[in-house]
Symmetry: C2
Subunit: 439 residues, 2 copies
């Protein structure tokens, strides 16, 4: 099945916003066994939307569009597609009632031009199914297009509103059931992803490929996706033996990459760490300087984090390092805020003062300013205090400011994950500069 | 000029990663006056890349591809495009030397199969310009394609490596100068974006459109982009009068939307707040419960934040609310952790204890669990303490957990921005449930 996703909006092409729909819808469809074959972004002006849909109709079995269903003048998707297909638009009284109901639930007064706005969004192309929008005005629309000159069999064309908190529930509640009911092929495609941290892409490939060659010859496909410090290994197959083939391959990858695999199939590193803490009934605090609260933010994105995450200190200033964590003024004077002894005292002090089982402490130079010859921008000390010891690792994360935060946070969570699993830290294997100092 | 961006990678289509290149490159090209006309994502398998490039060649003046230049088997862009254009690939000794130099600068041993990996990435299609990669192996490649059957004039085809920290410097250092030198039209396109927070999209349009109708008739284009709580107003024009037209329109929008505009042209709300603090030499601390460090993270993304941001407390547990912020046990017992009095004591305590001019305090229910009839999921109290008073606002941010954090953080920064500018909080204008309680 050829699936084409058309995201509309000049703001995407001008770079004003990230194309988060591409990721979210792509993931949903991949899990269903209908991976997106092509994605296109077109502006919400002129005939670009109709042109893209016309092209997609010539090759795709399923077309999904996002955006352009709202009430403003640059919302053109519904009209352009109706025009392209030669379908009249009719105001649907049931949709009108739903739009009114959504406004009333919000407990806010109707805007003065409500009737006009609602009427625009309540227009439905002849023959389209209405996909109810519980969180906004414009509903989704689904059309089954007959086979014809361009296509040997019927195709589906689905239009979804742009705001994610409207699009996502409509997709889950209405589009997924519709696709399941209409897709005889779904289920034949199996995908499985293993997420690794701390080994380079070519080392991952070198380790895996020779051991999976035979499975590849039987139809397994292997994909690698490298981000800074991370490599995803994606295993896919289609057909009757797909599930076995992927399971066998995943087992081999697990044996080959061992402790570098932090999760499988989308579970985040922070979710894994929270779960390990919960399972062992242990509690964590964070003491962050240069990552500025990012580690705490990641941890608290996990629902239920409050059971094991007591809280965190963002001690940007030296004064706060002393008053909140008990770092000694002599330590700061002798070694500086970015140093092994400071990281050690931050971790130990944070853990003891706030009655936690573990403390993560981070102090470094995020840049762009503040580097020296001895401690260049990117230098960071990561401390992990447990009841028994304090471990401090030095890393050189010479990236831009935000990447620095992300990489450093993940290194600190990996340190804790390995500790929770009773593994030796993987740090010094991946980075010759890293040092691990028990005390 | 018709610009087409082709991002390659199955990981994008499967939703494993966000398409951040689309945003970054889109923004760079828009600023240059060459807005992207169409963006396509294709998988890194089969002939999809060549098919997409062939299609783009039939309509585009400039084609940029990202990804697929690395050493692994799913890196096919270079080969597919050379095959499509009928160009031989030759190993470039200078590129080989550069790849070796990058490895040596990293101070790491060469991998055993280095020669093979380097040779793959050093192959250059006949006639292509090599765009030096200072941060990785594979260089970018630029080709000027002659006019021919498909095109009346020469076109540029540029291939860039996928990793952002390789792609971005190549783009800035080599692609932008190349485009400036080869684009007679650049400079005729003007874009300006005003970022608003706290008014709905249709209210923004209603306020603006009638006052800009006359400018629209002279060629101004207006676009709206709504995210949760935010609306960007994008003004664009082309031609000789473009700059005047956009400036006049921006002036009118400023007068109409006043304090809802927090910045113009991409400056983030947190950068604006940091700058206002710096200009007035005032210092800030944060005391976050349900936002879990997200406000501190946003603030510390701004280079130089350490001058005005002393640090933050992430007081998830009640115990930490007491020990770190001085919230009284009686307050917690009588009103609960999510309450106006708790937010007030968190803000006042945080500001006094840590010797700051301002403290932002946030306590609420991020969900999915923890809601009650009186305080449903999404309820949050935001406190702002200054030397003179403590203001507490109640908001209902009934979103998913991450959206809750983002919206709440922005509301808290807006509260501070308005305070720093001597404005009354805009909160109660946009939300009838909001209450503002000076003391």
């Amino acid at each position: 099945m050829y699936v084409e996703l058309i995201t509309t909006g000049s703001e995407l092409l001008l770079g004003a916003t990230l194309n988060s729909h591409q990721q979210w819808i792509g993931r949903q469809l991949a899990e269903l066994g209908l991976p997106v074959s092509r994605q296109v972004t077109v502006p919400d002006s002129g005939t670009a939307i109709a042109d893209a849909v016309a092209e997609a109709l010539s090759r795709a079995d399923l077309i999904i569009t996002t955006g352009g269903l709202g009430p403003t003048a640059d919302d053109r998707t519904r009209d352009e597609i109706a025009r392209l297909l030669g379908l009249p638009l009719t105001e649907d009284p049931e949709v009108l009632r739903q739009i009114e109901a959504v406004f009333q639930r919000r407990n806010r007064p109707l805007p003065p031009n409500f009737a006009t706005l609602a009427a625009i969004q309540a227009r439905v192309p002849a023959g389209a199914l209405v996909l109810k929008n519980e969180h906004g005005s414009a509903p989704g629309l689904a059309m089954k297009l007959p086979a014809g000159a361009n296509a040997a069999h019927p195709r589906w064309l689905i239009m979804l509103p742009g705001p994610p908190r409207e699009l996502q529930p409509i997709f889950r509640d209405h589009v997924l059931p519709l696709l399941r009911a209409n897709c005889p092929e779904c289920g034949g495609f199996i995908a499985h992803t293993l997420h690794t941290f701390g080994v380079g892409e070519s080392r991952v490939e070198d380790a895996i490929r020779p051991r999976l060659a035979e499975l590849e010859s039987r139809g397994l496909e292997i994909g690698y996706c490298a981000r800074t410090g991370e490599v995803d290994v994606r295993l896919t197959a289609t057909g009757a033996a797909a599930r076995e083939l992927v399971a066998e391959a995943a087992g081999r990858v697990r044996r080959l990459l061992g402790k570098f695999i932090y999760s499988e199939d989308q579970r985040s590193l922070e979710a894994v760490v929270i779960e390990l803490l919960r399972a062992s009934r242990q509690r964590l605090v964070t003491a962050e300087s240069c990552t500025g609260g990012y580690v705490a933010h990641c941890l608290t994105n996990v629902p239920g984090a409050s059971e094991v995450f007591l809280g965190g200190m963002v001690t940007y200033s030296n004064e706060l390092k002393q008053t909140l964590l008990g770092v000694r003024p002599e330590t700061l004077a002798a070694h500086g805020a970015v140093s092994e002894p400071t990281a050690r005292e931050m971790a130990a002090g944070g853990r003891e003062r706030y009655h936690a089982d573990f403390a993560i402490a981070i102090t470094g130079i995020a840049g762009p300013g503040g580097g020296t010859a001895e401690k260049p921008v990117g230098t960071v000390y990561i401390g992990l205090a447990s009841r028994d010891e304090v471990t401090v690792v030095r890393q050189e994360n010479a990236f831009d400011r935000e990447t620095f935060k992300v990489v450093t946070a993940r290194q600190s969570l990996e340190l804790l994950r390995h500790q929770l699993l009773g593994m030796r830290p993987a740090g010094h294997e991946k980075n010759p500069q890293a040092q691990t100092c028990g005390h």
